[in-house]
């Protein structure tokens, strides 16, 4: 194995994957046919023609951002591709799985079903914004304590949903947690442990004001 393929703890999985894809493209495209522009991830695939970009001001995890985006950009794509906040996951991209759950003004919402332009002036919170520095949010900690995941792809959505669920205060039993978390699918089927994590975190957060 060459030096460049050695494990580097400073390289994230995403960067590694992007590098691997780029290497694959370079290897498979004949010289002279490689389009440098296409290797760069576009904010929104330009299917169906081009659109004029528009200025949008977003507040994400307390930080203001002045962006120029395609009006078609969803909040999800803008978080991931423009702001590089890749903790929010794209699952189905059609509002059927909950992986993209974020908070808009403190309420849980699906970032794949809203345009970024609609969220101007709103307080957006993502999974990157709920810990207190190096101290995990109690719900994050509960998911670790109860092993509330296998592959982890749905986990940021589950946690964002659970944090809001606890604040909403409508779920006191495990059955109610299951019903009011039903918008978050887990294909690994970690539901029993997710439920335990949510119930545990809810108990610990009761009256804590978080």
């Amino acid at each position: 194995m060459s030096d460049e393929n050695r494990f580097d703890p400073n390289v994230t999985r995403r960067e590694l994957m992007a590098g691997a894809v780029a290497a694959g493209v370079a290897a498979s495209v004949p010289a002279g046919l490689a389009f440098a522009d296409e290797a760069a991830p576009a904010a929104v695939p330009a299917v169906g023609g081009s659109a004029v970009e528009m200025g949008v001001k977003l507040i994400v995890n307390g930080q203001p951002h002045a962006l120029s985006i395609d009006p078609r950009a969803t909040l999800l794509d803008t978080l991931r591709e423009t702001l590089s906040l890749t903790g929010t996951k794209k699952g189905c991209d059609h509002g059927q799985c909950g992986a993209c759950t974020v908070h808009v003004n403190g309420e849980r919402a699906l970032s794949c079903l809203m345009l970024a332009a609609q969220c101007e002036g709103d307080q957006i919170t993502t999974i990157e914004g709920i810990a207190n520095g190096d101290e995990l949010h109690p719900v994050q900690k509960a998911f670790i304590d109860h092993d509330g995941f296998q592959c982890g792809y749905c986990t940021s959505g589950q946690i964002m949903s659970a944090v809001a669920l606890i604040k909403e205060g409508h779920a006191t039993t495990e059955d109610e947690v299951r019903e009011l978390m039903s918008g978050n699918l887990c294909r690994c089927g970690a539901y029993p442990n997710i439920c335990k994590a949510v119930m545990d975190a809810q108990g610990k957060l009761a009256g804590s004001g978080i």
Binding site: V47, G48, G49, S50, A51, V52, M54, P71, R72, T74, D93, H94, G95, G98, T101, V104, E107, R108, A109, L110, L113, M114, L115, A117, Q118, E120, S161, A164, L165, E168, H170, R178, E179, L180, S182, G183, N184
Partner: protein
């Protein structure tokens, strides 16, 4: 998505003018239906007028005792509102039986009324579908039509109305308030939704550019029993195969009046008038419930894969009636 221009509405009249001026312009509220369908190229508006911030997000009691729900109120806000839970429980139950908290937090009352069918042949963007591409045919009628409607369908379209909220609104005799920049009008909820007939692409009696401003619920006189039963393929976060909303007025042990509506089985929110007529003035009785429920499904036109629906809807009605009249 097709490219579009996006503008934020500053006031209701300006929004109405902006949409009216462009035939392919649309209002954007929560976006939970529209953005999804735009990704699928089923909806291809050239202009979106964002009405989310217009001041239509209030629930208030009117002088005549009715309740007015602004079109921009989110589904969650309606479902958990004290007045709604107390006096219009069927509406709260129906909303909470649909979608997920994430979607209910964003979806609005006005937008919910305009949600489109989940017919897979409509959504796939490829099949023949008279609702999506008028005149192209209906592949659902001869295809895998397990989720298709059995009431109100036509040769052109067998798509099912998918929602829950409107089923409850129908049982509450709700009124839809709409406006242009010039005028306002009120539409009874049953007249708001259209049967597919020869024009399944036209689903409501709204004219282009008209904006839904509010939904009002008439005052309910006297104590009622209200309930919503929804049957679906999984326990939560799924559209109805059959659902039944019921509002019963009782005097002693007698049902004096019943309003019952069906979801999941018809082209539009469906009033079970035959059932209502058979219940009025009667005492609760399981044989009566069975017979009265079945009466509203007599006109059903099941197809190859949805022959179970008339029986399922009949049982949904029976169950909601039984639960309401057994409760202390």
């Amino acid at each position: 998505m097709q490219p579009f221009t996006y503008e934020k509405a500053t006031d209701q009249a300006a929004a109405a003018r902006a949409v009216a001026a462009e035939k392919t312009a649309k209002y954007l509220a929560g976006g939970t239906t529209l953005v999804d369908l735009m990704k699928l190229y089923v909806e291809t508006p050239t202009k979106l007028v964002d009405i989310k911030r217009l001041p239509m997000a209030e629930i208030r009691r009117e002088a005549d005792g009715s309740i007015s729900i602004g079109a921009g109120v989110t589904n969650s806000a309606v479902a958990y509102h004290e007045l709604v839970q107390k006096e219009y429980a069927v509406l709260s139950q129906a909303i909470l039986a649909g979608a997920s908290t994430q979607i209910r937090n964003v979806a609005t009352v006005g937008g919910n009324l305009l949600q489109r069918t989940r017919c897979p042949y409509f959504r796939d963007g490829i099949s023949n579908c008279n609702k999506r591409t008028p005149g192209s045919g209906c592949d659902m009628a001869t295809g895998f039509n397990r989720t298709a409607a059995v009431l109100g369908t036509s040769d052109r379209c067998v798509a099912t109305y998918p929602g829950d909220m409107a089923i409850a609104l129908l049982s509450l005799d709700a009124v839809v308030h709409v406006a242009t920049d010039q005028a306002t009008r009120k539409i009874a909820i049953d007249d708001f939704f259209l049967l597919p007939g020869n024009t399944p692409e036209k689903e409501t009696s709204l004219s282009h550019g008209e904006i839904i401003t509010a939904v009002s619920l008439p005052r309910i006189d006297g104590g009622t029993k209200q309930g919503y039963v929804k049957v679906r393929d999984r326990a939560s976060y799924e559209f109805a195969l059959a659902s039944a909303a019921a509002v019963l007025w009782m005097d002693g042990g007698t049902i004096t009046q019943a309003r019952i509506s069906l979801g999941g089985v018809a082209s539009k929110p469906w009033r079970a008038k035959e059932t209502e007529a058979m219940l009025a003035g009667k005492k609760p009785d399981s044989a009566l419930f069975r017979e009265a429920a079945a009466a509203s499904l007599k006109a059903a036109t099941p197809m190859k894969y949805n022959a179970f629906k008339p029986e399922l809807a009949t049982r949904a009605i029976e169950r909601v009636l039984t639960e309401l009249t057994q409760a202390a």
